[in-house]
């Protein structure tokens, strides 16, 4: 309940800001065709977030239970696992291993291709918001960060988003040169996953340090600017048809979607410029927060290319 209130406040603040900027005029500049916000009374505000958190919890508990209760459904951790015997391997870890060891194992290739196919169907960075346990912690961290920012306790800083690609290349080069999977040593995603499955390790200190950095210095810094695991899913996601669709007729240009979005730039071409019907697919994590917040019903999950056929 409290969370909900807090979110409401954030939303109201967003609307108020826009209003103030327009000095009392209730129409906003933008490509959306609605003049004002007309909330759909049936709109459920936290629908997708609740589904997503349930699935995120489900997979991580499944990892835990597969070992702890020996139910053997999803064995391993997020860097590599077997789902009912089928190998699944994190693409970035797989590329590092291939570069550092120069061995091409059949299982490694099978696992990576399987993950590749799964996330082409499900939408690339869907992994981040629907499976990654660090993402969930970062979402909570983001709430704390926004709270502190509103109280003017912290100020926000941002980096260039291109850091991600730099990091990606850097760790691949390091793997090739050093012969160690350097990133896997500090990978917070697999560190958390291993801690969930095999019991906590001291590497969690690093994870906590990252979270503190995000809360006090830069909102969602790891996921936004650094995480190379996300970059590999982002590259897969470029091909994915599952996307967020923007409906011009329903949009009242309130920009609340960009306010809640982890990667607001993906919405730019649609809600700011109106040049694209679908939100950019690469960096978008398909988290559904924009859909949840949009009570104009201007945003929805959709299958690009396929929705025209069906």
């Amino acid at each position: 309940m409290k969370k909900r209130q807090q979110q409401d406040r954030t939303v109201n603040a967003a609307v108020k800001n826009t209003n103030e900027n327009r000095s009392g005029v209730k129409t906003f500049k933008g490509p959306g065709l609605r003049k004002e916000n007309i909330p759909n009374p049936k709109h459920k505000r936290n629908k997708w977030r609740n589904i997503r958190w349930a699935i995120l919890l489900f997979f991580n508990v499944l990892f835990f239970a597969s070992f702890y209760f020996d139910i053997q459904v999803l064995e391993g951790s997020l860097s590599a696992s077997r789902l009912l015997g089928f190998h699944l391997i994190d693409p970035f870890a797989a590329i590092q291993v291939i570069l550092s060891s120069r061995i091409l194992m059949v299982n490694l290739v099978i696992g990576t291709v399987t993950v590749f196919i799964i996330y082409i169907v499900l939408g690339g960075r869907t992994f981040c918001s629907w499976v990654c346990p660090y993402h969930w912690l970062a979402e909570l961290g983001e709430k704390i960060n926004l709270f502190l920012k509103k109280r003017k306790i912290v100020r926000s800083h941002s980096f260039d988003r291109k850091f991600r690609y730099l990091f990606y290349a850097l760790f691949l080069i390091l793997a090739l040169i050093t012969g160690f999977t350097v990133f896997e040593t500090i990978n917070p995603v697999s560190a958390i996953s291993r801690s969930i499955v095999y019991g906590p390790s001291l590497l969690l200190i690093w994870v906590v340090a990252l979270l503190v950095f995000e809360i006090l210095y830069s909102r969602r810094a790891w996921c936004r600017y650094f995480c190379p695991v996300g970059v590999s899913y982002q590259l897969i996601g470029l091909l994915a048809p599952l996307r967020v669709k923007w409906n011009k007729e329903n949009c009242s240009n309130c920009k609340r979607c960009q306010n809640v979005c982890l990667v607001p730039h993906v919405l730019k071409d649609s809600v700011n410029k109106g040049t694209k019907e679908y939100v950019d697919s690469g960096a978008c994590t398909r988290c559904g927060l924009c859909i949840d917040i949009c009570d104009d019903e201007a945003l929805e999950f959709s299958l690009k290319y396929l929705d025209k056929i069906i």
Partner: protein, 294 residues
């Protein structure tokens, strides 16, 4: 670090291990652990601590099959071909075989001392089943009579564990001293070795250790087969002295029959799985696994 069977050489292992822990998940005796943050690049990689539990080289090698990256080489199909490490007699001074001491009697005495002090929790189940295994027919009967057992199946014997009073152990000790096996020196490293079709340890008759005291020898006992001068070793101590001294004191007192003193000589068929280190009854394992050098 002792790696699971089939592990590539350390550098290549670190390069290829994806740190997923699947080898740990499928390990039937649950002896594989993941390295902590102190191990640098090796954080999250699997290893075995043989003293806590050695690899039993299970049929089919599930850990090797589970490995998605080939860090545990899939070319390995049988446990006996693994090259994990190598067992060496690290502390010959405390080794029961070298001192001609029977391991059952040694363990019962220790158990009794622990019971008196209220310390220690050695596995009584394992001790009892080891005793039951070695009894001949006549001894078998009196053992069953004492504990009113109908058979000596592992379940019924291990059922006694935990219920033994101090008197029971005293009885067992006296009983063990009368048995046929009591004159036999310790062979537990060989008995428990998971490789059965080849002899991994030969017990070689040598000149008794105690008669060699006057000989001047290298006192570095951290090498295989190098037996130190007893007095000198005691002076140097190495800090880990408690356990070793304990074993050696007992050795002096009990080593009456020099004909029992055999040197365990590790053969090249040893894969270094660590079961001998786990099962070695001396307080600090006399036989230990060292890295295998090509």
């Amino acid at each position: 670090m002792l790696r699971p069977p089939g592990a590539l050489e350390e550098d290549r292992f670190l390069a290829s291990c994806i740190k997923c822990g699947q080898c740990l998940q499928v390990c039937p005796p649950q002896v594989v652990e993941l390295a902590g943050i102190g191990k640098g690049f090796a954080v999250g990689t699997p290893f075995i601590t043989p003293r806590q539990g050695g690899c039993i080289l299970c049929a089919g090698l599930p850990c090797v099959l589970a490995c998605p990256t080939g860090s545990l080489d899939h070319a390995l199909s049988e446990g006996k071909d693994a090259k994990m490490g190598l067992a060496v007699i690290k502390h010959p001074g405390s080794c029961l075989a070298i001192n001609g001491i029977n391991d059952i009697i040694f363990r019962l005495e220790n158990r009794l001392a622990d019971k008196a002090n209220g310390t220690g929790n050695q596995s009584e189940a394992e001790l009892l089943s080891d005793i039951a295994e070695r009894l001949n027919n006549a001894e078998n009967a009196s053992f069953r009579e004492k504990f009113s057992l109908t058979d000596l199946e592992p379940e019924s014997v291990s059922g006694l564990a935990g219920n033994l009073s101090r008197r029971d152990i005293e009885w067992l000790l006296n009983f063990a001293r009368t048995t046929e096996f009591s004159s036999m020196g310790c062979r537990i490293c060989l008995d428990k070795c998971p490789i059965k079709d080849q002899k991994t340890i030969e017990f070689v008759k040598r000149e008794p250790l105690l008669n060699r005291r006057h000989e001047k020898q290298d006192d570095d006992d951290d090498h295989e087969y190098k037996q130190g001068n007893h007095n000198e070793k005691r002076r140097h101590g190495h800090g880990r002295g408690h356990g070793r001294g304990y074993g050696r004191r007992r050795a002096h007192r009990m080593s009456l029959n020099h004909d029992n003193e055999y040197w365990p000589v590790v053969q090249s068929s040893c894969v270094g799985c660590g079961v001998c280190e786990e099962k070695c009854p001396t307080p600090v394992a006399s036989i230990q696994i060292v890295p295998r050098l090509e």
